[in-house]
């Protein structure tokens, strides 16, 4: 997540990091005094072998969201947390309520695992949890506004909000619409024969979502049948990008597809082949699409033609662009630079115009 020249990153080591790209380019030790901070979230240990008050690092899959200058993040261990950068820089006790920090639920209580991203709209934060419920929280206090139980397992997706409705896709093959105001179920829902592997993406009044039968569905809100379906070679796990009426969808079959948003017809003669599964959502910068494959290779693809160039590794052509580590996290674009965080806890800035990897920033 990029906000106010800072990058906010969550990681499976339980740390939230605020990274200043400028300080990183100067090679200062992390965290520097230029607004950077790192906060390690711990949770009470669940292992039966642990005794006393032992704790373990939390696991963070979700991408943080910035709300009024504060950073909100969902925790796999069953919490939603709001952090204030000022309190984290000063290393005050968390949650420092005077700075606007809170946790939901309070104290040692937890909800189901939070995997998807929190979504902030107005004074509310919406989040899905593995206990099968959608939560609406007050962004200021963290108080629960409403909670709606969808009774599905593994609600790992990120909801999407449009107008008065919040849309949620589920692993059991439904798209539900809930009222933003009170969480009540709205009359329309969409049912598919297989589960949805990805979160929904809204484009106008059409929802795009990937399914476990390797299809990308386009569903018009209010319709019972999909507008179109496009069959890939594996799951469409990551959120696509939509630009100028074209859907750019990455697939675990290693291909990037450009599809007409109205018809689902392929726009490029051949899909772009990245050679290994693509699990991270791409990002569009000007007329280029930046894609990272599981192998660690990063490509900049011309969105008109589908012709792509591989980003070279400064340490040698034969090496994958970003050291052969898996990329699962979403990217962050800022001033023509795309920041890719890999599983080795390093951040790789890619200059899209220059088609060049600028550095390797260790966040340890």
């Amino acid at each position: 997540m990029s906000y106010d020249d800072m990058l906010y990153l969550g990681a499976t080591d339980g740390k939230i990091r605020a990274v200043n790209p400028e300080a990183r380019s100067e090679g200062l030790p992390f965290p520097s005094s230029d607004g950077e901070w790192s906060f390690a979230i711990t949770m009470p240990s669940k292992s039966f072998l642990s005794c006393g008050d032992s704790s373990a690092p939390a696991i963070i899959y979700s991408t943080p969201v910035v709300v009024d200058g504060r950073v909100c993040v969902g925790i796999h261990d069953g919490k939603v947390m709001m952090l204030a950068p000022s309190a984290r820089i000063d290393e005050l006790h968390f949650p420092h309520r005077k700075s606007g920090e809170w946790t939901y639920p309070d104290g040692d209580d937890v909800i189901g695992a939070v995997v998807g991203n929190p979504v902030a709209v107005g004074d509310a934060i919406f989040v899905c949890s593995s206990d099968g419920a959608v939560y609406a929280l007050d962004a200021s206090s963290g108080d629960e506004k409403w909670r709606y139980e969808l009774s599905v397992e593994k609600l790992w997706t990120t909801p999407v909000v449009q107008g008065e409705a919040i849309y949620v896709s589920t692993f059991d093959g439904h798209i539900y619409a809930l009222s933003v105001d009170d969480g009540s179920l709205l009359p329309w829902s969409f049912d598919a024969e297989v589960g949805f592997a990805s979160s929904p993406l809204l484009y106008g009044d059409t929802i795009l979502v990937g399914s476990f039968d390797n299809n990308l569905y386009a569903v018009r809100i209010g319709d019972e049948k999909p507008l179109w379906r496009f069959q890939g070679g594996n799951w469409f796990w990551a959120l696509p990008v939509v630009s100028d009426g074209v859907v750019y969808a990455v697939c675990l079959d290693g291909k990037v597809y450009a599809l007409d948003a109205e018809t689902g017809k392929a726009k490029w003669g051949e899909p772009f082949d990245a050679g290994s599964p693509i699990a991270a959502s791409p990002v569009a910068v000007d007329d280029s699409l930046v894609v990272a494959a599981e192998s660690g290779d990063v490509y900049v693809i011309d969105m008109q033609t589908g012709v792509g160039a591989r980003i070279e590794n400064p340490e040698g052509d034969e090496k994958p662009s970003i050291d052969g580590t898996t990329v699962l996290a979403s990217f962050c674009a800022q001033d023509g630079i795309v920041y890719i965080r890999a599983q080795n806890n390093c951040l790789y800035p890619i200059d899209v115009a220059e088609r060049e990897r600028k550095a390797r920033i260790s966040l340890d």
């Binding site: 072998l49 397992e153 692993f171 039968d213 675990l252």
Partner: protein, 256 residues
């Protein structure tokens, strides 16, 4: 090598497990699929198990003779070895014959274990990893994600009620006890008694640490093992026999 393993063993088993889950009642689909597949695999490996049991039984029958040799030749280990080999040869028994059927079964158990863990997909990385192993089939796609609830268990989480741990440990102890011959040698007896307790205790502890889909597989496997031994080798074996005595090495009589 990994690709070959995935192609020939893991993928067929994983997809078979998911296909099975897709045709079973949804409320219990994955728990029942684990049970059914464990039974299928155990039945398919019955010839190997029977061979192993036969070899074990033959070895046990020869124990009195072996002990006589040990007494006769005392500390001359080389002579004991030579004489033992003669005895094995005369009886037509290969001393490692009871080992290899077990070794052949190991890959099957490992693949079954991997299949269960992959299918449960308890984390996003696991679910993502599952995608590369699936066949392109509507039926398999419909099984994902599997319903991890079965009886009182969440198969993707460790069972904290201790019930499963006691069942796994208990059945493992019974299965081992049925085949562990008591020894007249106090030192050997002490070692086997410790082993008899250690393994069930260890697996009981593992049950409280691993997602309960795996202990469910151990439990079913133990129960099938107990049944096989009961019907093939005759009754409860050494489970019902008195403590070590000079006659403990006789073969348990077959139940009528």
């Amino acid at each position: 090598m990994i690709n070959l393993w995935n192609l020939v063993i893991l993928r067929p088993m994983l997809n078979g497990l998911l296909a099975l889950a897709s045709i079973l009642p949804q409320e219990v689909e994955f728990g029942l699929a684990i049970i059914v597949l464990t039974i299928v695999v155990r039945v398919a490996s019955t010839p190997l198990v029977l061979r192993q049991l036969k070899s074990t039984k033959a070895m046990q029958e020869m124990q009195p003779k072996i002990q006589e040799l040990q007494k006769k030749y005392g500390k001359n280990k080389q002579k004991i070895q030579q004489e033992m080999m003669k005895v094995y040869k005369e009886a037509g028994v290969n001393p490692i014959g009871c080992m290899w059927p077990m070794l052949v079964q190991f890959p099957i158990w490992i693949a079954l274990y991997q299949s269960i863990m992959k299918a449960l997909a308890t984390t996003p990385e696991n679910l993502l990893g599952l995608a590369e192993h699936l066949y392109s089939s509507e039926r398999i796609a419909q099984a994902i994600p599997v319903n991890s609830h079965f009886l009182w268990l969440d198969l993707g989480q460790p069972d904290r009620t201790l019930v499963l741990a006691i069942l796994v440990g208990g059945t493992m102890w019974v299965q081992q006890k049925m085949t562990t011959a008591p020894s007249a040698d106090p030192r050997q007896q002490s070692t086997s008694s410790t082993m008899l307790l250690m393994m069930p205790l260890m697996f009981g502890m593992f049950t409280m640490m691993f997602p309960s889909g795996l202990p469910l597989f151990w439990l079913v496997s133990n129960l099938i093992g107990i049944s096989t031994q009961y019907f093939v080798t005759g009754g409860w074996g050494y489970l019902k026999r008195p403590a070590a005595s000079s006659s403990t090495h006789s073969v348990p009589r077959k139940r009528k």
